[in-house]
Structures are given as structure tokens and as C-alpha cells.
């Protein structure tokens, strides 16, 4: 179970049980994107608001496995306040990190680093990726 416990780190459980920025808002200036992976039940919507080239707010909602939900929660805290190109670059680096590709190691991943534990579980990489892919769609 060593690999499994490397995946289910405390930070993940913390975000899973106490999700941040959960619930969408119905306000102007927000873009949202929903990604479903019906085969495993993940269904996440990310909503972002960009003002003056800065990601002013990120929200998330949906349901799914702990990895997917926690990753959405971590995302909202991590990307808020970045400028758009920085946020996009970060999301790409994160996606590389969890997929086991080479990634921009100079970035400060903070809590999002724990998701690298999914590398050992190829079928879970998608779970950790969905929210970040959805976020990228919101800033396209």
C-alpha cells in the first residue's frame, strides 16, 4: 500500500473533506467549463473570472473521486491572483507533473505537488487532470 498512501496524502484528504471555493456563482464576467468522465463518475465544472489580465476568481463544483475533487479545490486556491499567461503556464506544468512528463521545475507548486502521487496509477492521472483541463478552457 506504500504507493497508495503516497497518493492519498493528508493534503488531498483535507481538500476532499473541506473543498475550497465550491459552488458556482451566477455573475457577469465568469467563464465556466464542465468536464465529465462518465465512465468513472467524475464531473467537475471550473469557473473563472479574468479582469485586466489577472485571474480574479476561480470556483469549482461537481462530484467525483477524492483525487478529482481535491485537485479542483487546490486549483482554485493556487491559480487565483496569477496573471492569465502565468496561470496557463502553471496549469500546463501541473498536467505534465501528474502525467509523469518532464515539467517546469522552477515553479512553486505548493500543495499541488502532492498530486504527483498519481503517476504510479495511470488510470488516476485523468482524475487529477480534469479540473486543470477545464480551467484552461475557461481562459481560452
Amino acid at each position: 500500500m506504500a504507493d497508495l498512501s503516497h497518493m492519498y496524502r493528508e493534503i488531498i484528504m483535507e481538500h476532499y473533506k473541506h473543498p475550497r471555493n465550491k459552488g458556482l456563482v451566477d455573475e457577469e464576467g465568469y467563464n465556466k467549463h464542465r468536464i465529465k468522465n462518465p465512465s468513472c463518475g467524475d464531473d467537475i465544472t471550473i469557473q473563472s473570472k479574468v479582469e485586466d489580465g489577472i485571474v480574479k476568481d476561480v470556483r469549482q463544483d461537481g462530484s467525483g473521486c477524492s483525487i478529482c475533487c481535491a485537485s479542483a479545490s487546490v486549483l482554485t486556491e493556487k491559480l487565483k491572483g496569477m496573471d492569465v499567461s502565468e496561470a496557463k503556464h502553471f496549469a500546463d506544468a501541473y498536467l505534465d507533473l501528474v502525467a509523469g512528463n518532464s515539467y517546469d521545475e522552477s515553479l512553486d507548486f505548493g500543495e499541488s505537488k502532492v498530486f504527483e502521487g498519481v503517476r504510479k496509477f495511470p488510470s488516476r492521472i485523468k482524475c487529477a487532470s480534469i479540473p486543470w483541463k477545464a480551467f484552461k478552457k475557461t481562459i481560452e
Binding site: 504507493d3 497508495l4 484528504m13 476532499y16 462518465p38 463518475g41 477524492s66
Partner: protein, 399 residues
């Protein structure tokens, strides 16, 4: 009991394979038959005068005879397809399309696998026919009374799933067929799950069409059977046009071969047909009744065991097959699945290509363990042990 495990080279000591409802493992005899085709023949059929082609054609056509005998059909009523899905699509496109008119009813149920639902949903939209869902009872079963209520003189097709791939329930096929025929409807039976453990006699059941896949009955992927009553198959146009399905070709028209060749355009998966023959041999040697008793016993043991573990929800306590569908309370099924995978226990999580059953159960993802002839009581114990560990593990994590 005989140890069947040794016939399945995919298995090793600590690997517990309980995902047979998705696809069964392949016995050595089937693998050898596939290799036999490539090693000793590797020729096309129906076309060559040389010995290898002649013999390969014989095996291909003898397998059709064998498949016919296996389900009580006539040889010319057996159409080779890619599997259940393509058989049911062929039917909807070429039979449904011809007979359905605006206002007609197609009777289906939420228990259907998507392959037994979506072809009809599509053809309903195309023809203006309506899909009617038989209400399931509180246990999620299809019961005769509710079918009676759903049938009317507008019903033209009843698409029935013999054994549900999520709930493991057996449908009352004979009763449904009698009721359907009484209102002039045809019955299409999806036997994908049933064929591996329920003896089927299509004449006795009197169904009009039925379909199954070789890969769920120890055979290879890429091959399956569509059975249809001869006059009904005769009434259908081909879905694919090309080589090997025509008698005469003129510049502006062509004359199709008789059924079943009419539906087998192009080069078919010949090696898979070789394999199917050996799969049928294997099932007949073991005996479907024996397989059925064995897997029902293992499923029952599993359900009893799961019931004694706190924090497990079972969705089909009264399964009629080797299928057990459940969840660990508060643990998303894909989280649980990773735990089983780490322990080398292969089962499945998700909606199992039957999303409407999940809606009915109020969950969009479940865990499914499905047993077959190569499983034994030791596998059940391993599975239950791992389940206990998983419950403890996720509870400790705080799920």
C-alpha cells in the same frame, strides 16, 4: 471440483480476476485455435480452390453449425458479426428501420446495456417511433406485470436483456415473448451476459432475434452472433456492401447472396471464428448448468460476506448470476478500485455501460465483481479480505 484455473494462462497465483462480465479470460484451447489459423492457414475463405482455403472455409462454416446447435437455431439463421453491439445495430438499422413508423412503440428498459438501448433510441428518433420504458420493480427487476402494462398494439419491438450486466437479474424471457407476440411485436434478446451460463434454446424461447459476443463466453474478441428467424433475416437488407455478399453484379444493381452471407461483407475475422468453435466446445464440456450453479454459489458467498462487513452497500442482494454490484460507503468507487488494483484484484467501477440503471439506483458509479468458472472459493475469500482492508484503509484516511 475440477480446477479450471490451469486452462487459463492469464492467471497466476495471487491474481484474482473477477471482471468476467466485462470479458472472460481465454483458455489455451481457444488461443491454440487462433494460432492454428495463422500458423497453418492464414488464407481467405470462400474463394480459394486450394486445400488450405477449402479447409479454412470448412472450419468457418462448421463453426456456424456449432453455434446454431449451441442455441437451438438453424445454421442459416446464424450471422457472424463483430459482437453483440454490431449485431444489435444491424438489426435496428435494417429491421427496425423497415418496420417502424411514426407512433409505433419500441419497448426497452433501464436495465439495458447501452448497446441494447442506443440503437433503438437512434432509430426511434429517425422513424418517429416512441421508446417505452418498462417500469422496474423496487428491486430493479423486470416483472411480467409491468411488461404487460407497457405493451400495446402499437408495440412493434421489445428489446430485452436476458441477464443484466449490472444487476445480474434474469429476465422472464418466455413470458415476455408470449405477451409480445400476442400484440404482434417482435422480441430482440440481448444474450451477451446470459450466453456464458444460461442454456439458451431460441426455438423454445421463441424469440425473434438474439445476439451474443464470443469474448464473454471464453472466446476471442471481434466475433459475435446475430440469430434471427429465417424469414425475418430474409426480409432485411444488408448493412454493409462489398465482397462476398453478392451473387451477381451489374452496372446499376446487384443481387445479394442468401442469408446469412448477405450480412457478412468483406473479409471476416476468420481466426476469431476458429477460436469461437473451441470456446463453445469448452462450455459444452463443462456444462452451462454446472457453470451457472458454480458462479451463483460464488456470488451468494460474496454477498453473504459483504453483508457482514460494515459500511458496504450491496445493490443486487438477489443476483441470479455471478454479478455482485456494490459500493464502500462514502468511498467513490474509483478510489476503492485503486485499492483493489494494488492488491491484484481485478474488478470494475463505473456505470458499466448502463447509465440508466445507475440513475435508478441513485448512484452514478458502482463497483462490480463478476465471477466465472475459473474462480473459486479462495478468490472469494481474497476478495472479501481485501474489501475489509479497503474499508479500514479508507476509514483511517477519513473518507
Amino acid at each position: 471440483m475440477k480446477d479450471y484455473k490451469c486452462d487459463f494462462p492469464q492467471l497466476n497465483d495471487d491474481y484474482v480476476y473477477i471482471d468476467s462480465a466485462a470479458t472472460t479470460l481465454t483458455p489455451t484451447t481457444v488461443i491454440d485455435a487462433i494460432n492454428d489459423y495463422y500458423r497453418n492457414y492464414s488464407v481467405n475463405i470462400h474463394r480459394g480452390m486450394y486445400k488450405q482455403s477449402y479447409e479454412a472455409t470448412e472450419i468457418y462454416e462448421n463453426t456456424r453449425r456449432k453455434a446454431a446447435a449451441f442455441i437451438g437455431a438453424k445454421t442459416e439463421e446464424i450471422v457472424y458479426t463483430r459482437g453483440t453491439t454490431s449485431a444489435l445495430n444491424l438489426l435496428a438499422q435494417r429491421y427496425g428501420n423497415r418496420i417502424l413508423k411514426k407512433g409505433d412503440d419500441i419497448v426497452v428498459s433501464e436495465l439495458a446495456h447501452h448497446s441494447s438501448l442506443l440503437p433503438w433510441q437512434h432509430i426511434a428518433a429517425e422513424t418517429g417511433a416512441n421508446l417505452r420504458y418498462v417500469p422496474l420493480d423496487s428491486e430493479g427487476r423486470l416483472i411480467v406485470d409491468n411488461i404487460k402494462k407497457t405493451l400495446s398494439d402499437k408495440t412493434k419491438i421489445v428489446a430485452l436483456t436476458h441477464v443484466s450486466n449490472v444487476m445480474g437479474y434474469l429476465a422472464p424471457v418466455k413470458e415476455v415473448t408470449e405477451l409480445a407476440h400476442a400484440v404482434g411485436a417482435k422480441v430482440v434478446l440481448d444474450c451477451a451476459q446470459a450466453v456464458s451460463h444460461v442454456p439458451i434454446d431460441v426455438k423454445q424461447l421463441n424469440v425473434d432475434f438474439m445476439a451474443f459476443s464470443a469474448h464473454k463466453m471464453l472466446g476471442p474478441t471481434g466475433i459475435g452472433i446475430l440469430y434471427g428467424k429465417h424469414n425475418l433475416l430474409e426480409s432485411m437488407e444488408p448493412l454493409e456492401y462489398g465482397g462476398d455478399m453478392v451473387d451477381f453484379v451489374e452496372k446499376d444493381h446487384a443481387v445479394w447472396k442468401d442469408v446469412p452471407q448477405r450480412f457478412e461483407a468483406g473479409t471476416m475475422p476468420i481466426a476469431s471464428v476458429f477460436g469461437l468453435a473451441k470456446a463453445i466446445d469448452y462450455l459444452e464440456a463443462v456444462g452451462l448448468d454446472h457453470i451457472h450453479d458454480h458462479i451463483v454459489k460464488l456470488a451468494k458467498m460474496t454477498i453473504d460476506g459483504l453483508q457482514s462487513i460494515e459500511d458496504v452497500t450491496i445493490y443486487n442482494e438477489h443476483s441470479d448470476s455471478g454479478i455482485v454490484t456494490f459500493n464502500l460507503k462514502n468511498v467513490p468507487s474509483h478510489d476503492a478500485l485503486s485499492f483493489y488494483a494494488e492488491e491484484n484484484v481485478a474488478l470494475r467501477a463505473g456505470h458499466h455501460c448502463a447509465m440508466l440503471v445507475g440513475k435508478k439506483l441513485g448512484v452514478n458509479s458502482t463497483l462490480r465483481a463478476s465471477f466465472y468458472i475459473y474462480n473459486d472459493e479462495k478468490d472469494v475469500h481474497r476478495f472479501l479480505d481485501v474489501t475489509k482492508q479497503a474499508v479500514d484503509y479508507f476509514r483511517t484516511l477519513g473518507f
